[in-house]
Protein backbone atom coordinates (compact mmCIF):
# COMPACT_ATOMS: atom_id res chain seq x y z
CA UNK A 1 0.00 0.00 0.00
CA UNK A 2 2.81 2.39 0.90
CA UNK A 3 4.61 1.53 -2.30
CA UNK A 4 1.53 2.48 -4.33
CA UNK A 5 1.51 5.78 -2.47
CA UNK A 6 5.04 6.55 -3.63
CA UNK A 7 4.14 5.89 -7.24
CA UNK A 8 0.98 7.98 -7.11
CA UNK A 9 2.91 10.81 -5.53
CA UNK A 10 5.52 10.63 -8.27
CA UNK A 11 2.93 10.52 -11.06
CA UNK A 12 1.08 13.57 -9.81
CA UNK A 13 4.34 15.48 -9.45
CA UNK A 14 5.28 14.63 -13.01
CA UNK A 15 1.85 15.51 -14.40
CA UNK A 16 1.63 18.85 -12.68
CA UNK A 17 5.22 19.70 -13.44
CA UNK A 18 4.69 19.21 -17.13
CA UNK A 19 3.70 22.68 -18.25
CA UNK A 20 2.69 21.48 -21.68
CA UNK A 21 0.48 18.75 -20.36
CA UNK A 22 -1.79 20.64 -17.99
CA UNK A 23 -3.51 22.76 -20.63
CA UNK A 24 -3.93 19.65 -22.76
CA UNK A 25 -5.62 17.86 -19.91
CA UNK A 26 -7.90 20.63 -18.70
CA UNK A 27 -8.18 23.50 -21.20
CA UNK A 28 -8.57 21.56 -24.45
CA UNK A 29 -11.52 19.49 -23.25
CA UNK A 30 -13.33 22.64 -22.15
CA UNK A 31 -12.80 24.20 -25.56
CA UNK A 32 -13.93 20.97 -27.15
CA UNK A 33 -17.12 20.92 -25.15
CA UNK A 34 -17.96 24.54 -25.88
CA UNK A 35 -17.08 24.46 -29.57
CA UNK A 36 -18.42 21.04 -30.51
CA UNK A 37 -21.64 21.39 -28.58
CA UNK A 38 -22.43 24.58 -30.42
CA UNK A 39 -21.23 23.41 -33.81
CA UNK A 40 -22.36 19.79 -33.98
CA UNK A 41 -26.02 20.34 -34.76
CA UNK A 42 -28.60 18.30 -36.57
CA UNK A 43 -30.62 21.37 -37.43
CA UNK A 44 -30.33 22.63 -40.99
CA UNK A 45 -30.54 26.37 -41.21
CA UNK A 46 -29.95 29.06 -43.83
CA UNK A 47 -31.08 26.80 -46.64
CA UNK A 48 -30.45 28.48 -49.97
CA UNK A 49 -33.86 28.41 -51.53
CA UNK A 50 -34.84 29.48 -55.03
CA UNK A 51 -38.05 29.20 -57.00
CA UNK A 52 -39.40 29.23 -60.54
CA UNK A 53 -42.83 30.70 -60.71
CA UNK A 54 -44.55 29.91 -64.01
CA UNK A 55 -47.92 30.80 -62.57
CA UNK A 56 -47.55 34.37 -61.31
CA UNK A 57 -50.80 34.46 -59.40
CA UNK A 58 -51.67 35.53 -55.89
CA UNK A 59 -51.78 31.90 -54.79
CA UNK A 60 -48.30 31.13 -56.05
CA UNK A 61 -47.01 34.28 -54.42
CA UNK A 62 -48.66 33.30 -51.18
CA UNK A 63 -46.83 29.98 -51.28
CA UNK A 64 -43.49 31.69 -51.88
CA UNK A 65 -44.27 34.11 -49.08
CA UNK A 66 -44.64 31.12 -46.76
CA UNK A 67 -41.12 30.03 -47.55
CA UNK A 68 -39.94 33.56 -47.16
CA UNK A 69 -41.41 33.74 -43.69
CA UNK A 70 -39.69 30.57 -42.56
CA UNK A 71 -36.52 31.07 -40.58
CA UNK A 72 -34.94 27.99 -42.14
CA UNK A 73 -35.02 29.26 -45.71
CA UNK A 74 -33.17 32.15 -47.22
CA UNK A 75 -35.24 32.94 -50.27
CA UNK A 76 -32.61 33.74 -52.77
CA UNK A 77 -33.95 34.56 -56.13
CA UNK A 78 -36.38 33.44 -58.73
CA UNK A 79 -35.33 31.78 -61.93
CA UNK A 80 -37.08 31.99 -65.23
CA UNK A 81 -36.45 28.44 -66.32
CA UNK A 82 -35.55 25.15 -64.73
CA UNK A 83 -32.40 25.14 -66.83
CA UNK A 84 -31.15 28.26 -65.08
CA UNK A 85 -32.06 26.76 -61.76
CA UNK A 86 -30.17 23.55 -62.36
CA UNK A 87 -27.02 25.34 -63.43
CA UNK A 88 -27.25 27.41 -60.23
CA UNK A 89 -27.56 24.21 -58.24
CA UNK A 90 -24.57 22.78 -60.04
CA UNK A 91 -22.61 25.87 -59.06
CA UNK A 92 -23.66 25.31 -55.46
CA UNK A 93 -25.61 28.57 -55.26
CA UNK A 94 -28.89 26.96 -54.30
CA UNK A 95 -29.88 23.93 -52.22
CA UNK A 96 -33.59 23.71 -52.87
CA UNK A 97 -35.55 24.74 -55.96
CA UNK A 98 -39.33 24.97 -55.96
CA UNK A 99 -41.04 24.90 -59.31
CA UNK A 100 -44.59 26.22 -59.46
CA UNK A 101 -46.24 25.05 -62.69
CA UNK A 102 -48.44 26.97 -65.04
CA UNK A 103 -52.12 27.09 -64.06
CA UNK A 104 -51.19 26.34 -60.48
CA UNK A 105 -53.98 28.52 -59.06
CA UNK A 106 -56.51 27.51 -61.68
CA UNK A 107 -55.95 23.80 -61.13
CA UNK A 108 -56.25 24.27 -57.41
CA UNK A 109 -59.56 26.03 -57.70
CA UNK A 110 -61.04 23.87 -60.42
CA UNK A 111 -59.63 20.41 -59.90
CA UNK A 112 -58.79 20.81 -56.23
CA UNK A 113 -55.40 19.32 -56.84
CA UNK A 114 -52.13 20.24 -58.43
CA UNK A 115 -48.49 19.22 -58.46
CA UNK A 116 -45.39 21.01 -57.24
CA UNK A 117 -41.87 20.11 -58.15
CA UNK A 118 -39.10 20.29 -55.57
CA UNK A 119 -35.46 19.74 -56.40
CA UNK A 120 -33.07 19.21 -53.49
CA UNK A 121 -29.30 18.99 -53.54
CA UNK A 122 -28.74 15.66 -51.80
CA UNK A 123 -24.97 15.41 -51.67
CA UNK A 124 -25.45 15.48 -47.92
CA UNK A 125 -28.25 12.97 -47.67
CA UNK A 126 -29.06 13.71 -44.06
CA UNK A 127 -29.39 17.42 -44.67
CA UNK A 128 -31.51 16.78 -47.79
CA UNK A 129 -33.87 14.66 -45.73
CA UNK A 130 -34.27 17.41 -43.18
CA UNK A 131 -34.81 19.99 -45.94
CA UNK A 132 -37.47 17.82 -47.51
CA UNK A 133 -39.18 17.68 -44.16
CA UNK A 134 -39.21 21.44 -43.85
CA UNK A 135 -40.54 21.89 -47.38
CA UNK A 136 -43.32 19.41 -46.74
CA UNK A 137 -44.30 21.15 -43.53
CA UNK A 138 -44.63 24.47 -45.31
CA UNK A 139 -46.54 22.97 -48.23
CA UNK A 140 -48.88 21.16 -45.83
CA UNK A 141 -49.65 24.30 -43.94
CA UNK A 142 -50.17 26.14 -47.23
CA UNK A 143 -52.47 23.33 -48.31
CA UNK A 144 -54.59 23.84 -45.22
CA UNK A 145 -54.88 27.57 -45.80
CA UNK A 146 -55.86 26.99 -49.39
CA UNK A 147 -58.53 24.43 -48.46
CA UNK A 148 -60.04 26.84 -45.97
CA UNK A 149 -60.19 29.62 -48.51
CA UNK A 150 -61.68 27.40 -51.17
CA UNK A 151 -64.30 26.25 -48.74
CA UNK A 152 -64.98 29.85 -47.85
CA UNK A 153 -65.43 31.03 -51.37
CA UNK A 154 -67.65 28.12 -52.34
CA UNK A 155 -69.68 28.77 -49.21
CA UNK A 156 -70.10 25.17 -48.31
CA UNK A 157 -70.93 24.48 -44.74
CA UNK A 158 -68.94 21.30 -44.62
CA UNK A 159 -65.90 21.53 -42.36
CA UNK A 160 -62.63 20.44 -43.84
CA UNK A 161 -61.69 17.01 -42.64
CA UNK A 162 -58.08 16.78 -41.69
CA UNK A 163 -56.22 14.40 -39.48
CA UNK A 164 -53.20 15.78 -37.83
CA UNK A 165 -50.76 14.17 -35.47
CA UNK A 166 -49.44 16.40 -32.74
CA UNK A 167 -46.13 15.06 -31.51
CA UNK A 168 -45.11 15.58 -27.93
CA UNK A 169 -41.41 15.20 -27.41
CA UNK A 170 -40.48 13.62 -24.11
CA UNK A 171 -37.27 14.13 -22.15
CA UNK A 172 -36.15 16.92 -24.47
CA UNK A 173 -39.37 18.81 -24.97
CA UNK A 174 -38.00 21.61 -27.07
CA UNK A 175 -35.87 19.26 -29.20
CA UNK A 176 -32.84 21.30 -28.23
CA UNK A 177 -29.96 19.47 -29.87
CA UNK A 178 -27.51 20.84 -27.31
CA UNK A 179 -29.33 19.00 -24.56
CA UNK A 180 -28.68 15.89 -26.60
CA UNK A 181 -25.13 16.63 -27.72
CA UNK A 182 -23.55 18.03 -24.57
CA UNK A 183 -23.78 14.81 -22.52
CA UNK A 184 -22.40 12.89 -25.50
CA UNK A 185 -19.45 15.19 -25.98
CA UNK A 186 -18.81 15.02 -22.26
CA UNK A 187 -18.40 11.27 -22.70
CA UNK A 188 -16.06 11.81 -25.59
CA UNK A 189 -13.71 14.05 -23.69
CA UNK A 190 -13.54 11.93 -20.58
CA UNK A 191 -12.76 8.92 -22.75
CA UNK A 192 -10.20 10.49 -25.05
CA UNK A 193 -8.15 12.21 -22.42
CA UNK A 194 -7.97 9.24 -20.09
CA UNK A 195 -7.20 6.77 -22.87
CA UNK A 196 -4.44 8.87 -24.39
CA UNK A 197 -2.88 9.76 -21.06
CA UNK A 198 -2.81 6.21 -19.73
CA UNK A 199 -1.74 4.71 -23.06
CA UNK A 200 1.05 7.18 -23.52
CA UNK A 201 2.27 7.18 -19.95
CA UNK A 202 3.78 3.72 -19.56
CA UNK A 203 5.16 3.69 -23.10
CA UNK A 204 6.93 6.92 -22.27
CA UNK A 205 8.72 5.21 -19.38
CA UNK A 206 9.62 2.42 -21.77
CA UNK A 207 11.11 4.93 -24.18
CA UNK A 208 13.23 6.79 -21.66
CA UNK A 209 14.38 3.56 -20.01
CA UNK A 210 12.96 4.12 -16.55
CA UNK A 211 10.57 1.19 -16.97
CA UNK A 212 13.54 -1.18 -17.07
CA UNK A 213 14.76 0.37 -13.84
CA UNK A 214 11.32 -0.21 -12.31
CA UNK A 215 11.34 -3.80 -13.54
CA UNK A 216 14.54 -4.61 -11.64
CA UNK A 217 12.96 -3.49 -8.40
CA UNK A 218 10.96 -5.96 -6.33
CA UNK A 219 7.77 -3.93 -6.88
CA UNK A 220 4.70 -6.04 -7.62
CA UNK A 221 2.97 -5.75 -10.97
CA UNK A 222 -0.33 -4.87 -9.35
CA UNK A 223 1.26 -2.19 -7.16
CA UNK A 224 2.91 -0.56 -10.11
CA UNK A 225 -0.18 -0.65 -12.31
CA UNK A 226 -2.53 0.65 -9.65
CA UNK A 227 -0.09 3.40 -8.76
CA UNK A 228 0.30 4.31 -12.41
CA UNK A 229 -3.38 4.34 -13.32
CA UNK A 230 -4.95 5.81 -10.22
CA UNK A 231 -3.88 9.39 -11.00
CA UNK A 232 -5.58 9.14 -14.39
CA UNK A 233 -8.70 7.80 -12.77
CA UNK A 234 -8.76 10.92 -10.61
CA UNK A 235 -8.18 13.10 -13.67
CA UNK A 236 -11.04 11.37 -15.49
CA UNK A 237 -13.40 12.03 -12.61
CA UNK A 238 -12.16 15.62 -12.51
CA UNK A 239 -12.95 16.02 -16.19
CA UNK A 240 -16.44 14.67 -15.65
CA UNK A 241 -16.96 17.24 -12.92
CA UNK A 242 -15.73 20.13 -15.05
CA UNK A 243 -17.89 18.92 -17.94
CA UNK A 244 -21.02 18.63 -15.79
CA UNK A 245 -20.51 22.12 -14.40
CA UNK A 246 -20.08 23.55 -17.90
CA UNK A 247 -23.11 21.64 -19.14
CA UNK A 248 -25.18 23.22 -16.42
CA UNK A 249 -23.74 26.73 -16.52
CA UNK A 250 -23.27 27.28 -20.23
CA UNK A 251 -25.80 24.98 -21.86
CA UNK A 252 -28.33 24.62 -19.08
CA UNK A 253 -28.55 20.89 -19.67
CA UNK A 254 -30.86 19.38 -17.06
CA UNK A 255 -29.65 16.83 -14.51
CA UNK A 256 -32.83 14.94 -13.85
CA UNK A 257 -31.38 11.71 -12.53
CA UNK A 258 -29.01 11.05 -9.65
CA UNK A 259 -25.62 12.65 -10.02
CA UNK A 260 -24.20 10.09 -7.60
CA UNK A 261 -25.33 7.31 -9.90
CA UNK A 262 -23.61 9.02 -12.81
CA UNK A 263 -20.37 9.27 -10.84
CA UNK A 264 -20.63 5.67 -9.72
CA UNK A 265 -21.07 4.48 -13.28
CA UNK A 266 -18.25 6.71 -14.57
CA UNK A 267 -15.87 5.43 -11.91
CA UNK A 268 -16.27 1.94 -13.37
CA UNK A 269 -16.28 3.13 -16.95
CA UNK A 270 -12.94 4.90 -16.57
CA UNK A 271 -11.44 1.61 -15.38
CA UNK A 272 -12.32 0.11 -18.77
CA UNK A 273 -10.56 2.92 -20.58
CA UNK A 274 -7.50 2.81 -18.33
CA UNK A 275 -7.22 -0.94 -18.80
CA UNK A 276 -7.38 -0.40 -22.53
CA UNK A 277 -4.68 2.27 -22.34
CA UNK A 278 -2.43 -0.03 -20.37
CA UNK A 279 -3.06 -2.88 -22.79
CA UNK A 280 -2.07 -0.64 -25.70
CA UNK A 281 1.10 0.46 -23.95
CA UNK A 282 2.05 -3.16 -23.24
CA UNK A 283 2.02 -3.99 -26.93
CA UNK A 284 3.78 -0.89 -28.21
CA UNK A 285 7.33 0.38 -27.89
CA UNK A 286 6.96 4.04 -28.73
CA UNK A 287 4.49 6.77 -27.99
CA UNK A 288 3.76 7.15 -31.70
CA UNK A 289 2.64 3.55 -32.02
CA UNK A 290 0.52 3.88 -28.92
CA UNK A 291 -1.00 7.09 -30.26
CA UNK A 292 -1.98 5.53 -33.57
CA UNK A 293 -3.55 2.48 -31.99
CA UNK A 294 -5.43 4.63 -29.50
CA UNK A 295 -6.70 6.78 -32.37
CA UNK A 296 -7.81 3.77 -34.33
CA UNK A 297 -9.97 2.54 -31.49
CA UNK A 298 -11.23 5.97 -30.49
CA UNK A 299 -12.44 6.80 -34.00
CA UNK A 300 -14.28 3.51 -34.39
CA UNK A 301 -15.72 3.72 -30.89
CA UNK A 302 -16.95 7.28 -31.36
CA UNK A 303 -18.52 6.76 -34.77
CA UNK A 304 -20.23 3.60 -33.59
CA UNK A 305 -21.30 4.90 -30.22
CA UNK A 306 -24.67 6.36 -31.09
CA UNK A 307 -23.22 9.77 -30.35
CA UNK A 308 -23.78 11.18 -33.83
CA UNK A 309 -25.81 8.53 -35.61
CA UNK A 310 -28.44 6.36 -33.97
CA UNK A 311 -27.37 2.75 -33.44
CA UNK A 312 -30.88 1.60 -34.39
CA UNK A 313 -30.25 2.68 -37.96
CA UNK A 314 -27.00 0.75 -38.34
CA UNK A 315 -26.93 -2.57 -40.19
CA UNK A 316 -27.38 -5.67 -38.06
CA UNK A 317 -23.69 -6.66 -38.05
CA UNK A 318 -22.67 -3.17 -37.01
CA UNK A 319 -25.15 -3.26 -34.18
CA UNK A 320 -23.52 -6.45 -32.95
CA UNK A 321 -20.12 -4.78 -33.15
CA UNK A 322 -21.35 -1.89 -31.03
CA UNK A 323 -21.98 -4.34 -28.20
CA UNK A 324 -18.20 -4.26 -27.70
CA UNK A 325 -18.06 -0.51 -27.65
CA UNK A 326 -17.72 0.86 -24.12
CA UNK A 327 -18.42 4.40 -25.32
CA UNK A 328 -21.87 3.29 -26.46
CA UNK A 329 -22.79 2.31 -22.92
CA UNK A 330 -21.43 5.49 -21.44
CA UNK A 331 -23.28 7.66 -23.98
CA UNK A 332 -26.49 5.79 -23.24
CA UNK A 333 -26.07 6.03 -19.48
CA UNK A 334 -25.17 9.72 -19.45
CA UNK A 335 -28.16 10.60 -21.64
CA UNK A 336 -30.50 8.35 -19.70
CA UNK A 337 -29.47 9.66 -16.30
CA UNK A 338 -29.20 13.31 -17.21
CA UNK A 339 -32.20 13.73 -19.53
CA UNK A 340 -34.55 10.97 -18.50
CA UNK A 341 -33.76 10.60 -14.84
CA UNK A 342 -33.10 6.88 -15.12
CA UNK A 343 -32.34 5.13 -11.87
CA UNK A 344 -30.04 2.33 -10.85
CA UNK A 345 -32.32 -0.43 -12.14
CA UNK A 346 -32.70 1.27 -15.53
CA UNK A 347 -28.98 1.42 -16.21
CA UNK A 348 -28.29 -2.00 -14.75
CA UNK A 349 -27.74 -3.68 -18.17
CA UNK A 350 -25.13 -1.08 -19.15
CA UNK A 351 -23.59 -1.20 -15.70
CA UNK A 352 -23.14 -4.97 -15.84
CA UNK A 353 -21.57 -4.94 -19.26
CA UNK A 354 -19.25 -2.11 -18.31
CA UNK A 355 -18.19 -3.88 -15.16
CA UNK A 356 -17.52 -7.08 -17.08
CA UNK A 357 -15.58 -5.09 -19.67
CA UNK A 358 -13.51 -3.46 -16.92
CA UNK A 359 -12.62 -6.82 -15.42
CA UNK A 360 -11.67 -8.34 -18.78
CA UNK A 361 -9.66 -5.33 -19.95
CA UNK A 362 -7.71 -4.93 -16.73
CA UNK A 363 -7.21 -8.66 -16.43
CA UNK A 364 -5.70 -8.74 -19.91
CA UNK A 365 -3.63 -5.66 -19.21
CA UNK A 366 -2.17 -7.00 -15.98
CA UNK A 367 -1.57 -10.38 -17.57
CA UNK A 368 0.25 -8.93 -20.57
CA UNK A 369 2.39 -6.58 -18.49
CA UNK A 370 5.62 -8.49 -18.16
CA UNK A 371 8.44 -7.69 -15.79
CA UNK A 372 10.43 -10.56 -17.30
CA UNK A 373 10.92 -10.98 -21.03
Amino acid sequence: MKTIGYIIQKEFKQIFRNKGMLPIIFILPILQLVILSNAATYEVKNIKFAYIDYDHTSTSRALIEKFNASTYFDVLTDFNSSKEASSAMLAGEVDVVLEIPNHFERNLLKEKTTDLSITINAIDGAAAGVENGYVNQIVQSFNKDVKMSIMDTSKKSVQPVTIESIPSFWYNTTLDYKTFMVPGILVLLVTMITLFLSGMNIVREKEIGTLEQINVTPIRKSQFIIGKLFPFWIIGMGLLTIGLILAKVIFNVPMIGSIILLYAYTSIYILVILGMGLLISNFTDTQQQAMFIAWFFIVIFILMSGLFTPIESMPKWAQIVTEFNPIKYFVAVVRMVMLKGSGFMDILPQLWKTLLYAIVMNGLAVWSYKKVN
Partner: protein
Protein backbone atom coordinates in the same frame (compact mmCIF):
# COMPACT_ATOMS: atom_id res chain seq x y z
CA UNK B 1 39.89 -17.91 3.28
CA UNK B 2 37.38 -19.06 0.74
CA UNK B 3 34.57 -16.62 0.20
CA UNK B 4 31.08 -17.65 -0.77
CA UNK B 5 29.85 -17.32 -4.35
CA UNK B 6 27.13 -14.71 -4.85
CA UNK B 7 26.71 -15.33 -8.55
CA UNK B 8 26.94 -18.75 -10.13
CA UNK B 9 26.22 -19.19 -13.81
CA UNK B 10 26.34 -22.54 -15.54
CA UNK B 11 25.98 -22.97 -19.30
CA UNK B 12 23.73 -19.92 -19.35
CA UNK B 13 22.32 -19.36 -22.84
CA UNK B 14 19.98 -16.93 -24.51
CA UNK B 15 18.79 -17.25 -28.07
CA UNK B 16 16.60 -14.95 -30.11
CA UNK B 17 15.26 -17.10 -32.93
CA UNK B 18 18.32 -18.41 -34.79
CA UNK B 19 20.65 -15.96 -33.16
CA UNK B 20 22.52 -17.02 -30.05
CA UNK B 21 23.25 -13.86 -28.10
CA UNK B 22 24.77 -15.62 -25.11
CA UNK B 23 26.33 -19.00 -25.71
CA UNK B 24 26.66 -21.30 -22.68
CA UNK B 25 28.60 -19.05 -20.35
CA UNK B 26 29.76 -20.32 -16.96
CA UNK B 27 31.40 -18.34 -14.18
CA UNK B 28 31.29 -17.54 -10.46
CA UNK B 29 31.55 -14.24 -8.69
CA UNK B 30 32.60 -14.09 -5.04
CA UNK B 31 31.25 -11.85 -2.34
CA UNK B 32 32.84 -8.40 -2.27
CA UNK B 33 34.56 -8.92 -5.60
CA UNK B 34 34.73 -6.36 -8.40
CA UNK B 35 33.96 -8.46 -11.43
CA UNK B 36 34.64 -6.88 -14.81
CA UNK B 37 32.45 -8.11 -17.63
CA UNK B 38 34.17 -7.09 -20.84
CA UNK B 39 33.36 -7.48 -24.47
CA UNK B 40 32.93 -5.61 -27.72
CA UNK B 41 29.64 -4.01 -28.68
CA UNK B 42 27.14 -6.75 -29.41
CA UNK B 43 29.16 -9.44 -27.68
CA UNK B 44 26.20 -10.27 -25.44
CA UNK B 45 27.17 -8.52 -22.22
CA UNK B 46 23.91 -6.68 -21.68
CA UNK B 47 21.85 -9.73 -22.58
CA UNK B 48 23.79 -11.85 -20.09
CA UNK B 49 23.34 -9.20 -17.44
CA UNK B 50 19.61 -8.97 -18.05
CA UNK B 51 19.27 -12.69 -17.38
CA UNK B 52 21.13 -12.31 -14.10
CA UNK B 53 19.01 -9.40 -12.88
CA UNK B 54 15.77 -11.22 -13.62
CA UNK B 55 14.28 -9.22 -16.46
CA UNK B 56 15.08 -11.71 -19.21
CA UNK B 57 14.37 -15.43 -19.08
CA UNK B 58 17.36 -17.65 -20.05
CA UNK B 59 16.83 -20.07 -22.94
CA UNK B 60 18.83 -22.77 -21.17
CA UNK B 61 21.48 -23.32 -18.53
CA UNK B 62 21.19 -22.30 -14.92
CA UNK B 63 22.26 -19.46 -12.71
CA UNK B 64 21.91 -18.34 -9.14
CA UNK B 65 22.18 -14.76 -8.01
CA UNK B 66 22.43 -14.03 -4.27
CA UNK B 67 21.37 -17.63 -3.76
CA UNK B 68 18.17 -17.34 -5.82
CA UNK B 69 17.31 -19.05 -9.07
CA UNK B 70 17.05 -16.86 -12.19
CA UNK B 71 14.07 -18.81 -13.50
CA UNK B 72 11.82 -19.05 -10.50
CA UNK B 73 12.96 -16.53 -7.92
CA UNK B 74 13.45 -13.37 -9.93
CA UNK B 75 11.55 -11.24 -7.43
CA UNK B 76 13.79 -12.40 -4.57
CA UNK B 77 16.82 -11.62 -6.69
CA UNK B 78 15.49 -8.12 -7.28
CA UNK B 79 15.32 -7.46 -3.53
CA UNK B 80 19.00 -8.23 -3.23
CA UNK B 81 20.51 -6.45 -6.20
CA UNK B 82 20.97 -2.95 -7.45
CA UNK B 83 21.07 -2.10 -11.13
CA UNK B 84 22.29 0.84 -13.10
CA UNK B 85 21.52 0.65 -16.78
CA UNK B 86 23.30 1.90 -19.84
CA UNK B 87 20.52 4.38 -20.36
CA UNK B 88 20.32 6.91 -17.62
CA UNK B 89 17.30 5.75 -15.66
CA UNK B 90 16.41 8.30 -13.04
CA UNK B 91 13.48 10.62 -13.68
CA UNK B 92 14.59 13.82 -15.34
CA UNK B 93 11.44 15.62 -14.31
CA UNK B 94 11.87 14.87 -10.61
CA UNK B 95 14.37 16.58 -8.31
CA UNK B 96 17.38 14.84 -6.81
CA UNK B 97 15.52 14.47 -3.51
CA UNK B 98 12.35 13.21 -5.14
CA UNK B 99 14.21 10.57 -7.13
CA UNK B 100 15.88 9.28 -3.99
CA UNK B 101 12.59 9.25 -2.10
CA UNK B 102 10.80 7.47 -4.93
CA UNK B 103 13.32 4.68 -5.40
CA UNK B 104 13.73 4.29 -1.64
CA UNK B 105 9.96 4.03 -1.44
CA UNK B 106 9.52 1.35 -4.06
CA UNK B 107 12.27 -0.72 -2.47
CA UNK B 108 10.14 -0.55 0.65
CA UNK B 109 12.51 1.36 2.90
CA UNK B 110 10.86 2.95 5.94
CA UNK B 111 10.27 6.69 5.70
CA UNK B 112 12.82 7.49 8.39
CA UNK B 113 15.48 5.42 6.70
CA UNK B 114 14.80 7.13 3.36
CA UNK B 115 15.30 10.53 4.94
CA UNK B 116 18.53 9.40 6.57
CA UNK B 117 19.86 7.89 3.35
CA UNK B 118 18.84 10.93 1.34
CA UNK B 119 20.74 13.31 3.58
CA UNK B 120 23.78 11.08 3.67
CA UNK B 121 23.81 10.57 -0.08
CA UNK B 122 23.33 14.23 -0.93
CA UNK B 123 26.17 15.28 1.33
CA UNK B 124 28.51 12.54 0.10
CA UNK B 125 27.96 13.60 -3.49
CA UNK B 126 28.17 17.27 -2.57
CA UNK B 127 24.73 17.97 -4.00
CA UNK B 128 23.41 20.05 -1.07
CA UNK B 129 22.83 23.16 -3.12
CA UNK B 130 21.05 21.44 -5.96
CA UNK B 131 19.13 18.71 -4.20
CA UNK B 132 15.90 20.50 -5.11
CA UNK B 133 16.85 20.91 -8.75
CA UNK B 134 15.41 18.69 -11.44
CA UNK B 135 17.73 15.83 -12.28
CA UNK B 136 17.37 16.67 -15.97
CA UNK B 137 19.35 19.86 -15.42
CA UNK B 138 22.44 18.10 -13.99
CA UNK B 139 25.55 17.30 -16.03
CA UNK B 140 25.84 13.68 -17.16
CA UNK B 141 28.70 12.82 -14.82
CA UNK B 142 26.70 13.92 -11.78
CA UNK B 143 23.68 12.05 -12.99
CA UNK B 144 25.71 8.86 -13.30
CA UNK B 145 27.12 9.20 -9.80
CA UNK B 146 23.65 9.90 -8.45
CA UNK B 147 22.27 6.95 -10.35
CA UNK B 148 24.91 4.66 -8.86
CA UNK B 149 24.18 5.92 -5.36
CA UNK B 150 20.46 5.36 -5.89
CA UNK B 151 21.13 1.78 -6.98
CA UNK B 152 22.87 1.27 -3.61
CA UNK B 153 20.03 2.82 -1.58
CA UNK B 154 18.53 -0.44 -0.38
CA UNK B 155 21.96 -1.85 0.50
CA UNK B 156 21.93 -4.65 -2.07
CA UNK B 157 24.33 -7.59 -1.92
CA UNK B 158 25.27 -7.17 -5.57
CA UNK B 159 25.25 -4.15 -7.85
CA UNK B 160 25.07 -4.58 -11.60
CA UNK B 161 26.51 -1.70 -13.57
CA UNK B 162 25.99 -1.66 -17.32
CA UNK B 163 28.62 0.61 -18.87
CA UNK B 164 28.29 3.12 -16.06
CA UNK B 165 31.02 5.47 -17.23
CA UNK B 166 29.99 5.75 -20.87
CA UNK B 167 30.38 9.33 -22.06
CA UNK B 168 31.76 10.88 -18.90
CA UNK B 169 35.06 12.74 -18.48
CA UNK B 170 38.22 11.08 -17.04
CA UNK B 171 37.99 12.92 -13.73
CA UNK B 172 34.44 11.82 -13.16
CA UNK B 173 35.36 8.30 -14.21
CA UNK B 174 38.06 8.31 -11.59
CA UNK B 175 35.62 9.54 -8.94
CA UNK B 176 33.15 6.94 -10.07
CA UNK B 177 35.66 4.16 -9.56
CA UNK B 178 36.46 5.49 -6.13
CA UNK B 179 32.78 5.10 -5.33
CA UNK B 180 32.88 1.56 -6.65
CA UNK B 181 35.86 0.70 -4.47
CA UNK B 182 34.15 2.16 -1.44
CA UNK B 183 31.05 0.07 -2.04
CA UNK B 184 33.18 -3.05 -2.55
CA UNK B 185 35.04 -2.37 0.69
CA UNK B 186 31.72 -2.38 2.48
CA UNK B 187 31.10 -5.88 1.17
CA UNK B 188 28.97 -5.15 -1.87
CA UNK B 189 29.75 -7.29 -4.87
CA UNK B 190 30.24 -5.27 -8.06
CA UNK B 191 29.41 -6.69 -11.47
CA UNK B 192 30.42 -4.14 -14.07
CA UNK B 193 30.49 -4.08 -17.85
CA UNK B 194 32.74 -1.64 -19.61
CA UNK B 195 34.45 -0.73 -22.86
CA UNK B 196 37.31 1.05 -21.21
CA UNK B 197 40.26 -1.30 -20.89
CA UNK B 198 41.99 0.92 -18.32
CA UNK B 199 38.96 0.34 -16.13
CA UNK B 200 39.41 -3.38 -16.56
CA UNK B 201 42.70 -3.03 -14.71
CA UNK B 202 40.77 -1.83 -11.63
CA UNK B 203 38.76 -5.04 -11.43
CA UNK B 204 39.63 -7.98 -9.23
CA UNK B 205 38.82 -10.40 -12.01
CA UNK B 206 37.61 -9.90 -15.54
CA UNK B 207 35.88 -12.03 -18.10
CA UNK B 208 36.09 -11.20 -21.78
CA UNK B 209 33.13 -12.07 -23.96
CA UNK B 210 33.49 -12.51 -27.68
CA UNK B 211 30.49 -13.35 -29.83
CA UNK B 212 28.41 -14.67 -26.98
CA UNK B 213 31.13 -16.79 -25.37
CA UNK B 214 33.46 -16.13 -22.49
CA UNK B 215 36.91 -16.46 -24.05
CA UNK B 216 39.01 -15.49 -21.05
CA UNK B 217 38.42 -15.22 -17.33
CA UNK B 218 41.02 -14.36 -14.69
CA UNK B 219 42.70 -11.53 -12.81
CA UNK B 220 44.02 -8.75 -15.06
CA UNK B 221 47.57 -9.65 -14.04
CA UNK B 222 47.28 -13.30 -14.97
CA UNK B 223 45.52 -12.51 -18.26
CA UNK B 224 48.37 -10.22 -19.25
CA UNK B 225 50.87 -12.96 -18.45
CA UNK B 226 48.84 -15.55 -20.28
CA UNK B 227 48.70 -13.48 -23.46
CA UNK B 228 52.20 -12.11 -22.92
CA UNK B 229 51.25 -8.45 -23.25
CA UNK B 230 51.55 -5.27 -21.14
CA UNK B 231 48.02 -4.02 -20.94
CA UNK B 232 44.45 -5.24 -20.86
CA UNK B 233 43.92 -3.34 -24.07
CA UNK B 234 46.32 -5.71 -25.83
CA UNK B 235 44.70 -8.74 -24.22
CA UNK B 236 41.40 -7.61 -25.59
CA UNK B 237 42.73 -6.90 -29.08
CA UNK B 238 44.51 -10.24 -29.23
CA UNK B 239 41.37 -12.10 -28.29
CA UNK B 240 39.21 -10.18 -30.71
CA UNK B 241 41.71 -10.73 -33.57
CA UNK B 242 41.99 -14.44 -32.92
CA UNK B 243 38.30 -14.81 -33.40
CA UNK B 244 38.39 -12.92 -36.66
Amino acid sequence: MKKENVIEAHQLTKTFGDFTAVNAISFEVKKGEIFGFLGANGAGKTTAMKMLIGISKPSSGSAKVAGFDVYTQTESIKKNIGYMSQKFALYDDLTVNENITFFGGIYGLPRKKIKEKREQLVSELGLENISNKLVGSLPLGWKQKLSFSVSLLHEPKIVFLDEPTGGVDPITRRQFWEMIYKAADQGTTIFVTTHYMDEAEYCDRVSIMVEGKIEALDTPKKLKEQFNVDSMNDVFLKLARNIE
